[in-house]
Amino acid sequence: MSVTVESDRTLLADVARIAAEVAAPAADAVDHEARFPIEAITALREAHALSAAVPEELGGGGATLEAVARSCFELGRSCSAAAMVFAMHQIQVITIARHLDGAPWFESYLRRLAAEQRLVASVTSEIGTGGDMARSIAAVTEEEHDVRSFEKKAPTVSYGAHADDLFTTVRRNGDAEPGDQVLVLSTAGQAELEPTGVWNTLGMRGTCSPGFVVRARFAPEQILAAPFSTVMNQSLVPVSHILWSHVWLGIATEAFERARAFVRSSARQRPGEPLPAAHRLSNVMAELTLLRSEVAQGLQDFTSEDEESGRERLLTMASILRFNNLKLAASEHTPRVCEGALEVIGILGYRNDGPYSVGRHLRDALSARLMVANERIHTTDAALLLIAKEA
């Protein structure tokens, strides 16, 4: 990727420094203790990286999607949890910035986000919808003239307890169909989160994503006006799949680099001897190359579809299939690379300590197929395939 914009260069330099000096040293403790990666997020706040994607005229960094994606990749190499928190926050910010349509409340919100480096979490999944983001049970209720409210039972809210503000999908009103949704941005003090469990998982432990009952009271102008299906297909879903897959590519790349370091070290100890691990490493590299190509192409396709035809093409079924396929491919290849790295390294990779440990990477990578379950995406794609002509 070539970086030509000054704001992008600043972001990438800051993120590279934070990834190496702050996120990486804390990654094992974040994983072990299943705690929020507070030092990395604090450092990103101090570097004003939380508003990197806010347009410059609203006080943000005005960074491109490419630079934000690259940042997710860099952080993913150091600490999956910090990277995923950063990615999910950016998805919300980018979605708001792309669909605020000049709404004064949302413009002033983004200014405030930039000034105060506020962290936004999303509340999209809901108990009872079977993991389908396109349906809601919870609905906006009219309390009084200028007050609206909702109550939503969410099975997971990533970093819910650590976020300042929440971006939540709910039905437009109590009479609306499950698919007739809106997005509500509630700020700190307007929402109450009642935890319904603890987050003790195989991987991605530092994202701290337990279930919550979320109750919020807010003003009508905090409901994003743009049609939800447009927001979902033009931004929320493709940008999620792009940024997630960059995080996953970062995880896979780090596992591969650890395997490469192991093989080099072995080669130095026994110069001239045949090295079966090097052969296996070559296989892993082929897998990583495929992953890297798909992730890069996904970003490039989005950028070109976004620029052409005023985002119209992003609404087509062919485009929905395309960015679903990015998620499917990246989430399936990432754990394969990590597993391959483990086989190259052997017992030193299986250990939870030492420079060649890749257990954390493999465990984190296994979440990729489950966060929006691939089975659900395949079901959607299977239906779209019946009618789409070219994808």
Binding site: G179, M317, A318, A383, I387
Partner: protein, 92 residues
């Protein structure tokens, strides 16, 4: 746009869109998704429309907006049959 075309569209919608209300209670410009059509049902509706009208919707027309009302569907079919010069299939 002929009444015959709208009638045939309504017949296909009634059979395949799985609305939560009777299609006869909806206006030609009523939003079918707001009337309970799911994304999955919309795909079946598109397939049924292709079959009923013996045509193929090209990828550029396969968006939610092109199938979100009886009028929008009529415009899309009209465009494919060279009847209406709409560029994107949406009703004005």
């Amino acid at each position: 746009m002929s009444d015959e075309l709208h009638g045939e569209i309504r017949r296909v919608v009634a059979e395949h869109a799985r609305l939560s209300v009777d299609v006869d209670t909806l206006a030609d410009d009523s939003d079918l998704f707001a009337a309970g059509m799911t994304s999955h049902a919309s795909v079946n509706l598109m397939l049924a429309l292709e079959d009923a009208f013996d045509l193929e919707f090209p990828d550029r027309m396969l968006t939610r907006g092109v199938f979100d009302s009886v009028n929008a569907i009529a415009a899309a079919i009209g465009e494919l049959n060279g009847l209406a010069p709409s560029s994107n299939g949406h009703q004005p």
